[in-house]
Symmetry: C2
Subunit: 636 residues, 2 copies
């Protein structure tokens, strides 16, 4: 097979690539991270590169949909459509680089009752003699029974290998690490040490890890990385498709997330001056697809009705069987999942928020590419999920991007002048006054803000149509599509205006309508008229403005003082399970108790969905928006 | 590092070896198996090679002890003492080649009540629907609970990975393989298949495997291999020493036995037209050192008082954690061990023979380099071990060899003419009349026969001294040591006479005295005067002639009709544990109940030992030898 030299600028990543591979494939091989939301399907247009030198395969009609003639002349291509046919030098435009997502640092300081699965106890053994030559393990077992009433103990194989030496290193005094009071994981000749565990939230986009001290529950370090699977597809369906389209796809995706997790483990433990071998247990949450891909379970049946997961119940797997580089005897506790589209992440949210322990009727929305909804109280809880699409995360949006530095996250529009103020992540000034970073795109909360403001100021109507009659210089038409300029060219880092287009509004409407219709059907199922409380969860959730979300109509009317955007509740749930084993039993119980409603088979879904396309809704009254949105706008 | 070309003839094994390595090391690297009883300590003299071409390091004084001047002139060297300093061609004399040991084929056809740990059950699941989208594992679990009352089921990780696909391959009908009714090991879309398991006896010398059908208890194939660790030392102490003297010694020895076991597994399953993945469980017995080396546990504490093992209790380890290539979810059940020198092999003997279920007072001798003794009945059982040395296995004997083809296994001496008749393993004629194989050495049963016959015919006295006055042409002196010719030069394959020397008789006396003294002290401990029954066990045991063994005085007097040489009872025990899980509990119970007696600290051991050096004993009467050995000889 012929090979060619490929160079990615500005980083200078380079290497040899086989003839005929796409630029996207080349970028994966060479470690140049190109944003690919659709997973190389030529449908998202995000993976643009600029050819600097050399030649690629001819420009295709699919590329023409995303690359204007002027850009084409400059050498722009879609990396998934352009094949390597000779030595090339390519440039990655700013907006095509995979960005590090900003994630919530404000972890709710819960007071979690400490009862971790990992415990330790100190022992001093009576040394063997010729009259009492009992074996080391049996001797230890007897002591643990006598002193701590621990019976039926097993020893994990790697621990057995070090047992004899460890017991003798400090005169038969040792410190024993146990899992669930039944498995010996380690024997240390030292005094009682601190014990460490790691809670992980594997999101489709972001993977967050919390390294915790299991003795006091403290978070020692917190770190997030991009889910490295992202370059194989942005959403769960494109990853499932990847595993089905490639013979080694499942293996590739599992290896990819394991590589990421091992990197996360390394960074976190180094930050705390620990060894990764000090980590004695991990708890993991994630949506059902992430759960399957992490464990290496073929996710194909998640993609077709009736979408049953391979396993609901929580599972404990040896970290070594997964290839995770932590303590050789560490277990990985993967939380249970509720349904094909309601995963362990949602179970994490549940045990963190405990809606089953309250009287108030609550709706919890875990915003994501796949929206997960839970509704109820101590009497009954139901869940459902809806394919919101990635619009509320900033994808399938013309200038959409994740909540990373450079993303517009807040938008205000003056109702009189229609002038725009915006805030960029990482830039403390308004409209990116400060030098860096300048605006590069709009993230989910920016889209919600923007559309809510466009509606509040009358720039779009209830149906989401941009008002063609408006005389604002920000309103313009490109290729026949109306769009509203949020940031002028000179306010951006990408050398062009950033806009919200009519198409973007439509995509956001589709997303919010799915959530709203889901919530309505769930209320009907529960026979309730109103919600006492709405919780917006997700690493994303903390950046949504509850007021703007309600103006947009992401959920039915509720007293705004009872609408909360909480932090990464799924991650909190993983941490809670790490620190308290009883919560694991609770998680399994609740995962089975929550009744899953498949929305698409509810007869009224289509009707509800269409009505919910309106902003905030076709005819539902929103008494709590009174005074926030002008009456004449609300009652259009 | 400089490298040289080394060739071993007649097999032609060749390769490059680093300068300075010994020929023995070179042989291991190149896979030319050289017999090394002492593990390269220059003390056994077994590892002779002949230099054909090239040059080795200078001849040493240690070699002079084993290689006569004439042989030296012919190029003979000890492979552990000669270092590679240039390209060489070497020849392996017949007697230096590691031989395949003959092991018992006559497996006692026990009627073992079948209750294996591995079971299977057929299920047919109701497929999931949108109204019942329960996960695959949870669905399976419910069905197994409903239909088979199986609760608290886990699924092993590799089984989880194939679950979803397997369930769908045959329309939700499947066959489930279970371990101990609590762990799902496999899901097959086929009808109930046969289930297979492997029982393994890891001896210091021989490793025997029994591939069994777990549905009917039948042995499908039986195979034995040399324990590949043999080239690192013949007895347990030299292997322990090897692990202590080499930083990677433990790893080398474990890898070595695992390589052997994987080869055994491959051969056995191929013989039965099975895949090695069809093997769902293994049971293993072995002495304590073999147990530790197999598991990779540092055996160093077994070598020093008070000799406690790392673990007495049986242990279940995943085969994949050990590196065994069988079913990915297979467990390895390692039977419990009694004490530092009474291992899982002896526990195997116990559950096979069940002395704890009989009234007769029995002595069970497991003959080996390390003799293991059990004595008692249903009221009480005690065990002990004694370092017999390897003489009764044919090592530390001038022409000793293992019970392999070419070994003299039977010796008869005419009391009138002192003429000798002998039988060679693999040759049906007496005195190796048939062309092949000719005699190459003497194995343990040959030594026992030979010395018993020398005594019965008066050629040696009670003290074991060869009668210097005897005029037999077979009596000769070499280097000042008397020896008795068993096979004339022309009757052998090694180009010289095979003899039993005065030194050999001494070594055998030391071995048998240890066993006898041990048995005496155990009888005293139990307060008994006589034994009702003696059982000689060991792969070796089946070839001992009980009468000759009693003439030699390997055990106290007993009615000869109650002395049995049984087959490989340890291997039987492994097979019983494979086929009946209740026997595993019984094994753990009995392993703790048997009282271990450390003979060396019993005050009378030295005295008893010295008295037992005599044949059959200094003054114990042997009423049951009356009529077998002439009175005047017995009452010397």
């Amino acid at each position: 097979m012929k090979k060619f030299q490929v160079i990615f600028q500005p980083t200078g990543r380079r290497g040899e690539v086989e003839e005929g591979k796409t630029v996207l494939e080349a970028s994966r091989e060479l470690g140049a991270e190109i944003e690919s939301l659709c997973g190389g399907e030529k449908t998202c247009g995000k993976c643009r590169v600029k050819l600097l030198e050399g030649e690629l395969s001819p420009f295709t009609w699919e590329e023409a949909k995303f690359i204007e003639d002027k850009e084409k002349a400059q050498g722009y291509r879609l990396s998934c459509a352009a094949h390597i046919l000779g030595d090339v030098s390519l440039s990655l435009p700013e907006e095509s680089k995979v960005q590090k997502q900003r994630i919530s640092k404000e972890i709710a300081e819960n007071t979690i009752p400490l009862r971790p699965a990992i415990t330790s106890c100190s022992v001093e053994l009576i040394p063997p003699t010729l009259n009492d030559p009992l074996g080391d393990f049996d001797r230890l077992k007897n002591t643990l029974l006598d002193k701590y009433r621990l019976s039926s103990l097993n020893i994990d194989y790697p621990a057995l290998l070090k047992l004899s030496r460890s017991l003798r290193m400090n005169g038969w005094k040792a410190n024993i690490a146990l899992w669930m009071d039944k498995e010996i994981l380690d024997i240390k000749p030292s005094k009682a040490d601190d014990l460490y565990g790691l809670a992980i939230d594997v999101g489709t986009t972001t993977v967050a890890g919390y390294l915790c001290n299991l003795r006091n529950g403290k978070i020692l370090a917190m770190q997030s990385i991009m889910n490295p699977q992202i370059s194989y597809g942005e959403d769960v369906m494109s990853r499932i498709n990847y595993t089905m389209a490639h013979p080694d796809g499942l293996e590739v995706l599992q290896r990819s997330i394991m590589g990421g997790l091992n990197q996360l483990i390394k960074t976190l433990s180094e930050n705390c001056h620990l060894l990764s071998e000090d980590i004695l247990e991990l708890t993991v949450v994630g949506n059902t697809t992430m759960h399957h891909l992490l464990l290496g379970i073929n996710p194909q049946y998640l993609g077709v009705a009736p979408f049953p997961p391979a396993i609901h119940h929580s599972i404990d797997v040896k970290a070594r069987d997964l290839g995770l580089k932590v303590h050789p005897s560490a277990n990985v506790h993967v939380l249970p999942i509720e349904a094909g589209f309601v995963g362990a992440d949602n179970v994490g949210v549940l045990i963190a928020q405990e809606p089953y322990n309250q009287d108030e009727m609550v709706l919890i929305i875990d915003v994501g590419t796949n929206g997960e909804l839970v509704m109820g109280n101590r009497k009954k809880l139901i869940s459902s999920s809806c394919a919101t699409g990635p619009a509320l995360e900033g994808a399938h949006i013309k200038f959409g991007m994740r909540a990373a530095p450079g993303a517009i996250e807040r938008i205000q529009i003056d109702p009189e002048t229609n002038e725009v103020r915006f805030k960029v992540i990482g830039n403390d000034g308004w409209n990116a006054e400060l030098p860096n970073p300048k605006a590069m795109g709009i993230c989910g909360s920016g889209i919600i803000d923007g559309i809510a403001e466009l509606y509040r100021t009358g720039l779009i109507d209830k149906g989401g149509r941009l008002n063609r009659e408006n005389q604002s210089p920000r309103l313009k038409t490109t290729n026949g599509i109306l769009e509203f300029v949020i940031a002028w060219k000179e306010e951006t880092a990408i050398g062009k205006e950033i806009t919200i287009s009519q198409q973007d509004v439509r995509n956001a409407q589709l997303a919010k309508a799915a959530l709203y219709a889901g919530a309505k059907l769930m209320m009907r199922r529960l026979g309730i008229e109103k919600l006492d409380e709405v919780i917006l969860a997700g690493a994303f959730g903390s950046y949504i403005d509850p007021e703007k979300a309600m103006i947009l109509g992401m959920f039915p009317d509720c007293d705004l003082k009872n609408v909360y955007a909480i932090g990464n509740a799924a991650g909190d749930g993983a941490r809670i399970a790490l620190l308290n084993r009883d919560k694991r039993a609770e998680a399994n119980e609740i995962a089975r108790k929550v009744e899953y409603i498949e929305l698409t088979i509810e007869g009224n879904f289509q009707k509800e969905f269409i009505e919910a396309m309106h902003i905030p809704h076709m005819h539902d009254p929103f008494p709590h928006l009174k005074g926030i949105v002008k009456d004449e706008i609300l009652s259009q």
